[in-house]
């Protein structure tokens, strides 16, 4: 039996922990490895059943509005009408969800390899993000726990606000280096470390 090799991230060589000398960095960038990411799309009439199926598989249900539902390693993020991005540690999430949600209830698409998660945290995290992303990061408009779908120029980004000063950014894999280049350049102004 051959072991499955490790997934290789395009940021493997870039997101190396590093703390610059001198100035106190005001944000920390890092890559957060994501073991399993699946998109689920319900049909308009099957929302409730899909919620149930998700809950059967992951142990938790999608939250209301634009909030992510969190339970242990599971994170269910709203990603459009009837659509969710579900993250979990287990590798066969896609298979289990597909088994629970047949074509009559919805569609299940594996995206584990399709996104890279960049995490940013620190006092100036929102400032750095706002320098390239045109959504309102004020906590009153974007509360902790909420998810936003947006883009940075050509790069689609799903943003999960995990704390007042921390965000997980789900970025398309092929663009991950371009995105890292942008965010690290933007963060130079306030000083950053890589965690």
């Amino acid at each position: 039996m051959v072991n499955t090799p490790d997934k290789v991230s395009p940021l493997a060589d870039l997101a190396m922990p590093n703390r610059p000398a001198g100035r106190q960095p005001q944000v920390e960038l890092s890559e957060r490895l994501c073991d399993s990411l699946v998109q689920v799309q319900a049909w308009p009439g099957t929302m409730a059943k899909v919620h149930k199926a998700i809950s059967d598989v992951t142990g938790t249900r999608p939250a209301k509005g634009h909030a992510a539902a969190l339970k242990g390693p599971v994170c269910i993020m709203p990603a459009g009408p009837g659509r969710y991005l579900i993250e979990d540690e287990t590798e066969n999430l896609e298979i289990r969800l597909r088994a629970a949600i047949g074509a009559h209830l919805g569609a299940v698409t594996g995206l584990t390899h399709g996104r890279v998660v960049v995490a940013i945290r620190g006092e100036k995290a929102a400032w750095v993000l706002a320098s390239g992303i045109a959504i309102n990061f004020d906590p009153s408009a974007f509360p902790v726990g909420d998810v936003r779908l947006t883009h940075h120029h050509d790069i689609g980004v799903t943003i999960h606000r995990t704390a007042e000063d921390a965000f997980d950014l789900y970025v398309f894999t092929s663009f991950a280096r371009g995105f890292w280049h942008w965010i690290s350049t933007a963060a130079e102004e306030v000083g950053y470390s890589v965690g």
């Binding site: 459009g80 009408p81 659509r83 045109a134 779908l149």
Partner: protein
Amino acid sequence: MRITCPWCGERDHQEFTYRGDAAAKRPAMSDESIEAHQAYVYDRENPDGAHRELWNHTGGCRKHLVVTRNTLTHQITLCEPIGPWAKRLKAAAK
């Protein structure tokens, strides 16, 4: 311009892709006449004033919406959901 996506909320129009006049309706699959397709593909009313038009929220949820916008002032008066989810989104908005 700021467009209100029925699902994502208000965003810069830069997040959306313009898809043109919402009045252009594709003939049914049963209709194979050249004339009907001709009108759908090429003829536009191009009004000066209220224009119902399609935008795709490609930088967000990737759903289409119908925007009513004045072509003289760029003022947007209505953003409506369209597509399979339209009914639910409308209901949610209420």
